[in-house]
Symmetry: C2
Subunit: 232 residues, 2 copies
């Protein structure tokens, strides 16, 4: 593994505090691979043989049932996924596929569990990571149960806007059909939802979004830190 990537992984909250010896031991069994777009990395129901770390590119976590499917989340560099399944040695609840050309590190789940038992700093870091993940999903569930699709879109746009700080415009990172799925609606409904937000100053041009008056949109969206803030 190239030094730069080794250091990128070491810098992750999950690994930064653990003993050198244990980190090295984890990395010995790990390997890094380049995947083209649209490759399925894991399948729901399958055992989770590897903890995955996205080094570059992006990964879609999705699920299927009875012929329907839905995007659950997007994983961006540098972060991990399938941590919970790895720890519990349980089947994956979600499938994962690359959205674009991506570089992924794979650490054998068995190694993760072994080091988890040996290194309490690592165990503690995993707790923090899992607590974070748990709270993110709770927020997503509140978003789904308490808001209409129009409200979800409005708040999503405001969250994206916060990342592009200062600017009143930003780019949608991915296809609208996938955004629709993430927000729990159909592409057609998303198309109409964008139009429904025009009165609040939202303009769409392809994947380019402009928000004329953030305060106006906020009056409609009523963003709430207990649903929309990533950090808390």
């Amino acid at each position: 593994m190239p030094d730069a990537e080794y250091r990128d992984i070491r810098k992750l909250d999950l690994f930064s505090q653990m003993a050198d010896e244990h980190f090295t031991s984890l990395m010995r069994g790990a390997y890094v691979q380049n995947f083209p777009a649209q490759i399925e990395l894991t399948t729901e129901g399958e055992p989770s043989d590897f903890l995955h770390i996205v080094l570059s590119g992006s990964v879609d976590l999705f699920s299927e049932w009875n012929g329907r499917d839905t995007s659950m989340a997007t994983v961006r560099p540098v972060s991990t996924f399938i941590l919970a399944a790895t720890i519990k040695d349980a089947p994956n609840l979600m499938s994962a596929r690359t959205l674009e050309k991506s570089r992924i590190a794979l650490i054998p789940s068995q190694d993760v569990r072994t080091i988890f038992d040996l290194d309490s700093s690592f165990a503690r870091a995993i707790v923090t990571e899992l607590a974070q993940c748990y709270r993110s999903v709770i927020k997503a569930q509140k978003d789904l149960k308490l808001r209409t699709s129009l409200e979800r879109l409005a708040n999503y746009l405001l969250r994206q806007l916060k990342h592009a700080d200062g600017s009143a415009t930003f780019e949608l990172g991915f296809e609208k059909r996938r955004l629709a799925s993430v927000l729990g609606m159909t592409p057609e409904n998303l198309s109409r939802a964008f139009k429904g937000l025009q009165p609040y100053g939202v303009a769409v041009n392809g994947t380019h979004i402009t928000i004329d008056d953030q305060a106006d949109l906020e009056r409609f969206a009523k963003p709430n830190p207990l649903i929309d803030d990533f950090s808390t």
Copy 2:
């Protein structure tokens, strides 16, 4: 604290493996209290001062936004809640209220965090617990995004039936309005959903449910271990 309760708590997966010394230390700062029904134990947005353990009775976790509210989960004895907020020392994402007369143990969050740093068995148990919680919410989210309300109800009934093993009947544990909220629909919609399941042999009499032909209901509900099994 009565010995019986002390032992009940000790038997929880979360505490069973930790050092005696640390468990005793945790319990020293803890106290147990009886609450009547409908008491709000925690409020979303407030700091989480105590890890809560339901010893008897039951607790509703719910959230509000913009005048709407929704039940997120029910906590039954003997188990804990607000673990993630306690560990992260972050505000609660959900409010909690007793559904009936309940006995609750409260452990100061600061003590939990202190012992968490001292006792790696405890830290590991917390990881397992959090991973379990995380996976439960993911399942709930898949249920919400992939199924209609009729399908959610059908699968809910089948899950309950599995607990009352053998029998073709069981009691709804709580009010229908709350079940509706848990399932993400209105009470009126739930009422009609029950009627919609009559063709599949579901009969309702007050809070008493009878399922004539489990196999028939399953053909409609298509239960899936990756959504409906509690253990995996």
